[in-house]
Amino acid sequence: MRVTAAIEGRGLRFGYGAVPVLDGLEVSVDRGQLVVLTGPNGSGKSTLIRLVVGLLSPDDGTILVLGRPASDPGVRRSIGYAPQGSPGRMVLPVSVTEVVASGLVTGWRGGRRDGDVGAALDAVGMTELGAECVFELSGGQQQRAVIARALVGDRPVLILDEPTTGIDRAFRPRLVEELRRRADAGAAVVVVSHDPDDFHDVCDRILFMEDGQVRDVGHDEFHTLEQEAGS
């Protein structure tokens, strides 16, 4: 019996105007996998991620999450998504707990389970900072709050865009360990990163994007490609 992939893209084409970004891309990620998505700037990593979380629609092809179209709001509730950077445009004071709890809201009502918020804060080492105002935190701590918002609620699919950017090196192993634990518990975890070394020892696959395509590469091949790109 074929097991449904957590994320499956078939023949994906997408472009901004006349500029093609994805050109018949095929990709599949299973539950239980921790996958690093990498590639040069402009290779389409963020575009692919935005297609998976339903913020963009493909020009052609299909993108399925847990066997259902990514555009289905119901399936999007199964995805924990952490964009890169700060937790939004903060004009008014907002506490870390409020930011994280917003990740539990999936519909008109939205529920809040304090235990989930506490667990997510603990996962990013911010248990003591729940009551703090987000915009009084450092950039790295704000990024951790964004990650906690994606982790809260134990979603079966996690998508994190550059989660280690701006985060101090001392905390990175703890984050990597947490994502590995989530994958081992059955989640499909996709991490966009320019620096797969953070996940070198624990990831299941490295997906390299280039010329509108994505392919599996080993760690050695990735470093060769990286050196070629830098030379």
Binding site: I79, P83, P93
Partner: protein
């Protein structure tokens, strides 16, 4: 003179109506401010003047005309925003001018461009009937109930619309609900502080609360307190003096509160600086 607020019927009506608007306006305003849509209330207020004119021209109450046009205008503003046509201040300025100009022309055509227009623009708090107060209380109750029921999704969208959309929230529908509630509030506050000042009661108390709070919920709590207190103090000042427009004294009180909170507060609402290390 202050005792009229508690002994005379017109004073009690003014007190009840001002309290309702002072309490409820910041509840919607907090979401607008967080989304950098502080001027949307003003835009809807200006369009509501055209609605008053439409109501008078077609022979129904100006309030009902204002309600219909404010709701339609709110949907129009949201549609423009979604399409990226409301990113600068020019589009909003055009909406302001359209509302005021259409209101002036419409009221002129109806032969009603007289001193009563001042009441629409700045409120007629001491001339309310109990029926007026009932409409204001009903609109306030609807707005408050809707925000209480949708507090978490509205906050999630206000914090980060893109992530909320990625999480499957009905963002477009929630945005429409928010501007529709703003329209109801504008009409509810029209007779209290007037169409030109009602948006101030949505924004200024929130700005004051943001100076001393550490969370959105606390900001909301402070804002509601400032809004209600401003309504009472402003009304007391107007009643004590006898010739002051309550709409003006209420908003000036809220602005004074903002200045006071800014002095004692420790942060600015916009342009914060990190204080911790990574």
């Amino acid at each position: 003179m202050i005792d009229v607020l508690f002994t005379a019927d017109f004073g009690r009506r003014a007190l009840v109506a001002a309290t309702v608007v002072g309490l409820v306006a910041p509840v919607v305003g907090a979401f607008l401010v967080q989304r950098r849509l502080s001027l949307v209330g003003d835009g809807i207020g200006h369009l509501a003047l055209a609605g008053v004119a439409v109501g008078v021209l077609v022979g129904v109450s100006g309030v009902w005309g204002a309600l219909v046009v404010a709701l339609l205008g709110a949907v129009l503003l949201e549609a423009l925003r979604v399409r990226g046509r409301l990113t600068g201040d020019l589009s909003l300025a055009l909406i302001f001018y359209l509302g005021i100009a259409a209101g002036a022309v419409g009221l002129s055509l109806a032969g009603r461009f007289d001193t009563s227009v001042l009441g629409v623009l700045f409120g007629t708090l001491f001339a309310l009937t109990w029926a007026d107060v009932g409409v204001i209380a009903l609109l306030g109750a609807v707005v408050l109930a809707a925000v209480l029921a949708l507090y978490r999704p509205l906050l999630a969208v206000a914090l980060d619309e893109e992530t909320a959309r990625a999480g499957g929230l009905p963002v477009d529908a929630l945005n429409l609900v928010l501007v529709a509630l703003t329209a109801l509030l504008v009409v509810g506050g029209m007779r209290v502080v007037g169409l030109l000042l009602v948006a101030a009661l949505m924004v200024v108390p929130v700005a004051a609360g943001s100076k001393v709070a550490h969370s959105f919920r606390a900001t909301l709590g402070w804002a509601v307190g400032v809004g209600a207190a401003s309504a009472w103090v402003g009304l007391l000042m107007a009643a004590w003096h006898g010739d002051l427009v309550p709409g003006g004294t209420i908003v000036l009180t809220a602005i004074a509160a903002f200045v006071g909170f800014a002095v004692v507060g420790r942060r600015t609402a916009v342009g914060h600086r990190p204080r911790r290390t990574a």
